[in-house]
């Protein structure tokens, strides 16, 4: 490189204003790399430089989002919400495998019963008994002191309480409903009956959330889960009758406002000041 030569003012101006061809830009930058005087003569904005470096740093250091976060992003969930939901314990791979296995077992039991004389009327029972309990259990394990390792950290943040719980509950509920919905067509019974778990699932989940404003979510879920299984086993198809379905819908409609009214009780810092 010729140490005596420096970038002419006109060339420098074209470079700074972005009016050079790529080959010329490379040539100029090659010279700038070795010429301190010309580098010092290049006008630049400190703010622009900082922003540019921050952008480069962000691209280089940015962690690859978790698979679930990527999936949620593709579904249109905002980036920060997707990252938040991807940490939900009840959306971990182990939990999803457990749901899928349970559903597979229920469907398999239904298929076997359908082929066994005398057991056909009960073919749907394993699935219908299990399906509403899955979202219930998932929501119970989505947020709380005993199920989330970083709960104490979360509890001191503005997202603590109902915001975190409901976001996660909706994500878990959606996941469980989708997986269960995928399993339903594999059942031997009529399609209408196979969908009979949806309203009980909704009512049980809302009831569980309402009771969770008094006791911990796992206890609440255990109460309603056990109650549901007893009702199905004891009442057979009665739990899925039209009257029962209307009852589930009404129960959900009544309990949703109760959950809303008592939402502050999901917050660990919600005081009972004297």
């Amino acid at each position: 490189m010729n140490g005596q030569w420096h970038l002419p003012a006109e060339l420098m101006e074209h470079y700074v204003t972005g009016h050079l061809e790529p080959a010329q830009v490379m040539s100029v930058e090659s010279h700038l790399a070795g010429c301190a005087r010309c580098r010092a003569a290049v006008p630049y904005s400190v703010e622009w430089l900082d922003t540019s470096w921050a952008g480069i740093e962000d691209v280089v250091d940015r962690p690859r989002p978790r698979p679930l976060a990527r999936l949620l992003r593709r579904a249109g969930v905002p980036e920060h919400v997707a990252v938040f939901l991807a940490a939900t314990p009840a959306l971990a791979r182990g939990w999803l495998v457990a749901i899928a296995s349970t559903l597979a077992f229920a469907v398999g039991a239904g298929q076997l019963a359908a082929r066994h004389p005398g057991l056909e009327p009960y073919a749907m029972l394993p699935f219908l008994a299990v399906a509403p309990v899955l979202p219930l259990a998932g929501v119970a394990l989505a947020y709380g002191r005993h199920v989330d390792p970083v709960y104490e950290l979360q509890a001191a943040t503005p997202m603590a309480g109902v915001r975190s719980l409901l976001l996660r509950a909706v994500a878990v509920l959606t996941t469980a409903v989708v997986l269960t919905g995928l399993a339903a067509p594999l059942l031997p019974g009529p399609p209408g009956l196979a969908a009979a778990w949806l309203l009980p699932a909704l009512a049980l989940t809302v009831a569980m959330l309402a009771l969770s404003t008094w006791v911990s979510p796992p206890i609440s879920a255990s109460v309603f889960g056990a109650g549901w299984v007893c009702a199905v086993v004891g009442g057979e198809q009665l739990a899925f009758s039209l009257e029962a379905q209307i009852g589930y819908a009404l129960a959900a409609l009544i309990l949703i406002p109760l959950v809303y009214l008592r939402r502050a009780r999901f917050d660990p810092g919600e005081p009972v000041w004297n």
């Binding site: 962690p63 509890a155 943040t157 503005p158």
Partner: protein, 283 residues
Amino acid sequence: MELIVRGLTKSFGRRLVLDSLDLDFGTGVTGLLGRNGAGKTTLLRTLATTLAPDGGQVRALGLDPADRAQRTELRRRLGYLPQNPGFYPHFTVFELVEYVAILKELTDRRDRHREVRRVLAEVDLADRARTKVRKLSGGMRQRLALAQSLLGDPDLLILDEPTVGLDPEQRMRFRALISRLGENRTVLLSTHQTEDVAALCERVVVMKGGRSVFEGTPGELAGAARGQVWLSDRAPDAARLFWRTADGRYRALGDRPPGGVPAEPGVEDGYLLLLDEPVEVTA
């Protein structure tokens, strides 16, 4: 005052953990000393809004945490390091801090990542950003927990035993960091390390049985032991507490032992005397 506590009471079952506690904390670093079970962690959890008290009042940064909206606003301005911070072990260091940053409402990705990098650099973990949390040593996890508490440059910093697991060099770095942060905000930390209190805190509160039994400067705590700290060549029998020091002499607290000569008291001497229970310690 940035933090005002009046008549704070908390029980777990029949055990009274905070007993009508009254305290004021201003700008600067305040150390909480006390035995296990003295109520330090319960006090810090209550101030960090993760535990509701049974009674009393708190005002932090001019906000009343009993009010939901004000509690949320307080959480926006609060940094909290719990005594047992949990982790997602399968997360990387960066992911975990980023997760807490989201909980602190840092929604813009670029700003959030910049802030995560800043706090990781503060605790010297920048080069571990891609390491899984399960692969970190205990000291590194403690630094990670400290890093998340610094997110958003909080006005109020509550640290429950922050120096546990840190090696001497990291403790020095921690002291430098906290003393710098304490210049323009309220930092409240609990510790069992009286050296940290002496080196770092402008003010110290000693808790016992859910109450405050001392409030003052570390110098005043040390001064409370003046005339009750002795060095002697023989194991004393009259002292409330004594131990054999590295030079083979006995350091005794309480009544003057035979042949004892007065020694310059330290924060630890004042603290041990305040606890006021005879214990014999030899080394």
